[in-house]
Subunit: 206 residues, 4 copies
Amino acid sequence: MRSENESDGQKRRSFIEEARRAQIVASAVEVIAEIGFAQASLARIAQHAGISKGVISYHFAGKDELMVEVVERTYGLIAETVGARMQGLSSATELLRAYLLGVAEHMRGHRTQLAALGEIFIHLRGADGRPRYGIKANEEIYRALEGIYALGQESGEFWHFDRRVMAVTQASAVDNMFAYWVAYPEHDLDAHARELADIFERACRS
Amino acid sequence: MRSENESDGQKRRSFIEEARRAQIVASAVEVIAEIGFAQASLARIAQHAGISKGVISYHFAGKDELMVEVVERTYGLIAETVGARMQGLSSATELLRAYLLGVAEHMRGHRTQLAALGEIFIHLRGADGRPRYGIKANEEIYRALEGIYALGQESGEFWHFDRRVMAVTQASAVDNMFAYWVAYPEHDLDAHARELADIFERACRS
Amino acid sequence: MRSENESDGQKRRSFIEEARRAQIVASAVEVIAEIGFAQASLARIAQHAGISKGVISYHFAGKDELMVEVVERTYGLIAETVGARMQGLSSATELLRAYLLGVAEHMRGHRTQLAALGEIFIHLRGADGRPRYGIKANEEIYRALEGIYALGQESGEFWHFDRRVMAVTQASAVDNMFAYWVAYPEHDLDAHARELADIFERACRS
Amino acid sequence: MRSENESDGQKRRSFIEEARRAQIVASAVEVIAEIGFAQASLARIAQHAGISKGVISYHFAGKDELMVEVVERTYGLIAETVGARMQGLSSATELLRAYLLGVAEHMRGHRTQLAALGEIFIHLRGADGRPRYGIKANEEIYRALEGIYALGQESGEFWHFDRRVMAVTQASAVDNMFAYWVAYPEHDLDAHARELADIFERACRS
DNA sequence: GATGAATGAGGCTTCATTCAT
DNA sequence: AATGAATGAAGCCTCATTCAT
């Protein structure tokens, strides 16, 4: 099993292995986005990639590792892109708007990945049977948003709402914006994001 | 199979059959809430109810029909209760607040059902493989909220936001409030609902 | 899964289930004796019994449970038969002879079961990967033999040898007598047992 | 494949190949002793040796050939060592004692190899599905012991017991002494061997 | 000589469903 | 009305072996 080599933190993956992993991840994304997590068996993912079922087992320790890698690759890209857009902004209002518009703009070009990500977040469970990415996995996002709110409340931009409730609300608004867009592809995602920015600006400002 | 009789819309179910269906539905709710939709096999539901696996097959055409019935029974109860609380109110602001507080109060006593409902909404798929209760199943709620928003916008209470976006946002805020509470049982649901009412009042008012 | 009912200690098995379990156990014994534990897949056991593979899964929680049941049924019968033959004897020498001759006589009519039992003892491993019936499973036999030796040493029949070493030696002598007989069916088992009784009488007597 | 050259009986192996084979054999011994024959896949043996899986396939015709080589190397060493210790002795009693003490002393320093050897003896099967080293593989030992017994019976040291039964018994006593020691590492192997020598002296002497 | 990659068979398990009683 | 029994498909995983580089 190739994947055991990772333990020392060094990337020991050959070029070809990296390519295969990427290919398999891409295939998984497409299959999951199309038929849903529960129906996305390794057999189907392999078939869609035009490879043997065993290849996946060779490159990944198991289905879980594959799914986690899908999440990491996809999610990492998002965080990177959006984070860059928020660089240099200082007012809480600007930060929130940049976040909303940025994440929407990035996702506009990655609908399949978005759909797959959502499926995995919802369905993937750990060996203990509990969701691997449940609500609790949002903690990082909640903290980040709460930080921005605290900034705004200190500067007087925002009123003294409960930051946790606001964070949960705003995060869910973003999640559902995407879910709505995945369900209704003709929906104008950018306009939705702008409207959301307006709504939360009003909801937060003092 | 008994269930074939339902097609004509008449209730032909005997008392005993009705009782069995209710018992099975209740068992399904508990099992799903505890171990999740994916792990809730008919065998486990039957075992938890203390009955034979075959009984479920006898009373329900299949697993799907059982799940649909779980949703209908549980969801119907909510709509009924919350609808009653909104009766007689006229201002849009009041209606929204009544809705938020009402649904939270009702759910506070039905956490198991809430958790099961969420699981089924997310997981259940039709014979075509597409989600049976996806975002599109929210259409009814969206319409209802949009109606209230239109009221408020006409009366001048609300500014002229995009009603669909606001509906999607508010519905998601409610859904996630519950999801958060299911994950963190010690979370103060009523306080969250009140805060949410404040937030959306600010977000909507002109 | 039927087998979950056992927990309360009551036998809730229907007649037909009991028959099936017996049939499956018998099939497992025959297959294991013939082709060995490692090759005895559930598929082959089912095929040899003329039933579907799923039937085994229905009646047994898993392969492990089946194997354990094979051991219990077979081993229990031996202990019962041999125990009865030793009843009423008092001198240590007599007890040892009765044990050796008794177990041999019983086994003479159960060679297939003996072979299967040996295979399972050697091969079966628990979930932790360690042998389920290793040497340590002989502890009970060792204790029983040591009891007899202690009797003989107190009465003066036996010299003061190390009881544990003698027990390990005698138990292994019996095990290998059977293994030899399984390998060489024409070998005279009863004569071997009588010779063994003579050998250990000389080895023990003071 | 290199190994095809062996057929003519000549050693055509290069130094490096010989080293590799020894390394692989050593790795196999360690892995088998630790996790058991059934779990000792080629992948694990290769990983433990720090080499690629393919190397094993390159140097050995298959898993079977590797296992056979493990046995031959390990077993050969034992026979050599113990044989040397018995050189020059003449009385049957002395020979048996030297054998028992010698093999125990040698094994005391080779527990890993002993454990691996036991695992292979028990598990390895030929292409026909029958055990490659079953009881029948003990024939050589039986013959050797029988030779000593014949010596003792002729010289009058021993009574006229059945030599085959005694050989099977004594061989099994030695095997199980080791198995017991592998299971209970703190067990005093040498003391066990001395006790065994006493026991069999009493069992054999006229 | 050595390696990484790929394969395909075979194993165990789970499960919704069907059926005879 | 209910049950226990049986089925067969599908899923994931392991592994010895083969092959191109």
